[in-house]
């Protein structure tokens, strides 16, 4: 058996490497920037370095998401021991100009410079995304150089499993997958479950259409996810783990697969991890395009190679999960928070955010908003700060109309609640949910009944068909919405729709059906007049 990785030695070596050249060019090579042409930009810089013999002066480092996706490709010039300049919309030509100007003339290029003093950057608090734009996700050394696997080493060598769970309890972290269940309680359940075989499962299904937090975490910091899984498994007595990733994320699958292999080679996974008695094997499992598979019991069925239909709980997975053995499912972002908690202590984590929603939350900011991208803010940040300051407001002089959170299970929050604190409980009070972190801004032109119909179509398509309220109810609600939005609806249709909402919510088997009416309920609550305006009947009462 090879010796385990020496974390401190790797850190030292990386430090030397970092200062080897006078310049480091960090180029975002995350999905959004790649779509915007980052591949050609990086190639142009690499060619330049070769052509002009700059290899001793400049090293090019591809990194994960730098955040401001709408301004990609993003590039950062870093001078040894000194200043940094960030650049936006860097075409291959611009990249050449920027690198030459810095390296040869010590001059920045204002034309493409990105203002990092704007609230988009200054109002964020990056815990989960701390490594985004910093490390090279393909190199474990890069992760280690920024403190990676220290938490695992600390847990395995200085803490008992109970003490690990105690830190999680102190952090008061709640699950990031949607429901906000206290993480420590779930870990405690698995730890106390009887039996030798126990599983930890990372939920990377990210079904919310309009969200890409988990994707970015898996692609840009795969080792962070693995480290979180390993700590979770150690704390709960599990020796096998799965990461369930949707097939639409081939890059995340590839990166995780590779990271697992590399971690195993370095004795961070496998047998006798870091020369302790802790063993853990981790495997990636791939979904195949079914939203319901994000639901934990459906997900387990899918890992077993079956149709991904949910089942009634109890028994909860922590009692009876994969192949009947106790299993704990945590969302990818939840797991990405674990290493920092163990590193810096549960109390530190609890000092971020609000009393009942601690820590930070990553949001994918999209829709009718100036700065689209990935952001991370302390829980409790107001919606206004996210939309107006960080997001830069609604473009084209249009008015803000609503923010949608929670995807097909969530709701639309109108302008009058812009000062709401974004945390689990406040959003629920408004009839939406935190969800996994998709945050779509809609301007005055968006018609709310259309939005409700859009999500209902989604839920209808994605209903697995096992229970009748969800299978038939979503079809009925969709056809009512169709009739209404086409202008052929009646007052009775609207009454039927409201009635169906409560029936489907109260009688569906799993969270998909139970939450499917939410977009309708919330738009009816806040934008009822838009529905009423669609009804061209005599008896219509104008609001």
């Amino acid at each position: 058996m090879a010796a385990p990785i020496d974390l401190h030695e790797v850190m030292e070596r990386e430090r030397e490497e970092r200062f080897r050249t006078r310049w480091r060019v960090k180029a975002c090579s995350s999905t959004a920037c790649l779509s915007a042409g980052a591949g050609a930009t990086i190639k142009a810089v690499e060619d330049l370095v070769e052509r002009e013999d700059m290899a001793l002066e400049v090293q090019v480092i591809p990194t994960g998401c730098m955040g401001l996706c709408s301004a990609g490709p993003l590039v950062r010039m870093m001078r040894r021991g000194g200043d940094e300049s960030d650049y936006q919309k860097v075409t291959p030509e611009a990249a050449i100009e920027i690198v030459r100007s810095h390296v040869l003339d010590e001059q920045p290029v204002p034309e493409y410079e990105l203002d990092v003093t704007m609230p988009f950057f200054t109002s964020q608090e990056r815990v989960v995304l701390a490594n985004g734009g910093v490390i090279n996700p393909d190199r474990i050394e890069s992760y280690v150089a920024h403190g990676g696997y220290q938490a695992l080493e600390k847990a395995l060598t200085t803490m008992k499993p109970k003490q690990v769970i105690e830190q999680i309890r102190l952090s008061r972290i709640r699950g990031r997958g949607g429901a906000g269940y206290p993480v420590a309680s779930k870990w405690g359940l698995l730890a106390s479950a009887p039996g030798k075989t126990k599983y930890v499962v990372a939920n990377g299904d990210e079904g919310d259409p309009g969200a890409y937090m988990d994707r970015t975490i898996m692609e840009d910091d795969p080792h962070r996810v693995i480290e979180g899984i390993a700590i979770a498994a150690y704390a709960t007595g599990a020796s096998e783990a799965y990461i369930y990733v949707r097939a639409e994320y081939p890059r995340a699958i590839e990166r995780l697969d590779r990271a697992i292999r590399v971690a195993r080679r370095n004795r961070l996974l496998g047998r006798k991890i870091l020369d302790t008695n802790f063993n853990l094997s981790v495997e990636v499992r791939i979904g195949a395009g079914a939203f319901v598979c994000g639901e934990e019991t459906a997900l387990l069925a899918s890992i077993e190679g079956l149709r991904g239909t949910p089942r009634l709980r109890p028994p909860y997975p922590t009692e009876k999960g994969l192949w009947g053995a106790p299993t704990m499912i945590n969302n990818v972002e939840t797991l990405a928070n674990i290493a920092p908690i163990i590193d810096r202590g549960g109390e530190w984590f609890a000092s971020l955010g609000t009393e009942k929603s601690t820590g930070t939350k990553v949001f994918a900011l999209a829709g009718d908003i100036t700065n689209t991208g990935l952001i991370e803010v302390p829980m409790g940040t107001s919606l206004r700060e996210i939309v107006a300051d960080i997001g830069g407001g609604v473009p084209n002089g249009k008015e803000f109309k609503a923010a949608q959170t929670g995807g097909p299970s969530g709701g639309c929050i109108p302008a009058k609640f812009l000062d709401t604190s974004v945390d689990y409980d406040s959003l629920r009070e408004l009839g939406s949910i935190m969800g996994s972190g998709g945050l779509i801004v809609m301007d005055e032109d968006v018609k709310m009944p259309d939005v409700a119909k859009y999500f209902m179509e989604f839920s209808m398509d994605e209903s697995c068909g096992k229970c009748t309220p969800c299978r038939a109810g979503t079809v009925q609600m969709h056809s009512l919405l169709q009739r209404l939005t086409e202008g052929n609806g009646s007052k009775q249709d609207l009454r039927d729709l409201e009635h169906l909402c409560s029936v489907v919510r109260d009688t569906s088997l799993c969270g998909l059906g139970q939450a499917a009416p939410n977009p309708v309920i919330s738009t009816l609550q806040y934008f009822r007049s838009e529905y009423e305006a669609l009804i061209h009947e005599e008896e219509v009462v104008h609001a």
Binding site: T31, S35, G210, A288, A290, G305, L306, A364, G367, D368
Partner: protein, 178 residues
Amino acid sequence: MSDTTTRRVVEASNRQQGDHPSGDNRFELVDKHLKRARYEQDQLIETLHVAQDVFGYLSEDILIYVARALRLPPSMVYGVATFYHLFTFEPPGDHSCTVCTGTACFVKGADAIVQGVSDAYSVPTGETSADGSLTLKTARCLGSCGLAPVVVLDGSVLSHQNAESTLELVGTAVGGEG
């Protein structure tokens, strides 16, 4: 299909020796996966992915082949395959156009793009045009919401699309074949 898979397929079918008993060497790639997965039954979904990657779609023959290899009833394999949206049972067209209809793209007008392509090529979403030139698909969020609306045409990601711009690019791709 990814580039590496394409290359492997080409390599496999060029090979003279080690012909697969079925007469179709592409099955070798499926076999290779099965072997690596130790023929475990819970590897069904992974195996179907590999088969679809290699063949482009899942024909009845392929489903039966997978069922036999994993010692599963064909009805169960069929049941699993049809449950998941990503598996297709018809050969794909020469070109593929996937329009993202995730929330961000929806808000930015993805519907008009779907409608535009669908009308212009008389192809309903999820199907292939009668002449086999174009398959029109929709996807739920490609994770590039900042570039909405997003379209993927033959594997390349197109950002900030509208119906006209997409139609023009689709036209070039499909027409470019001559």
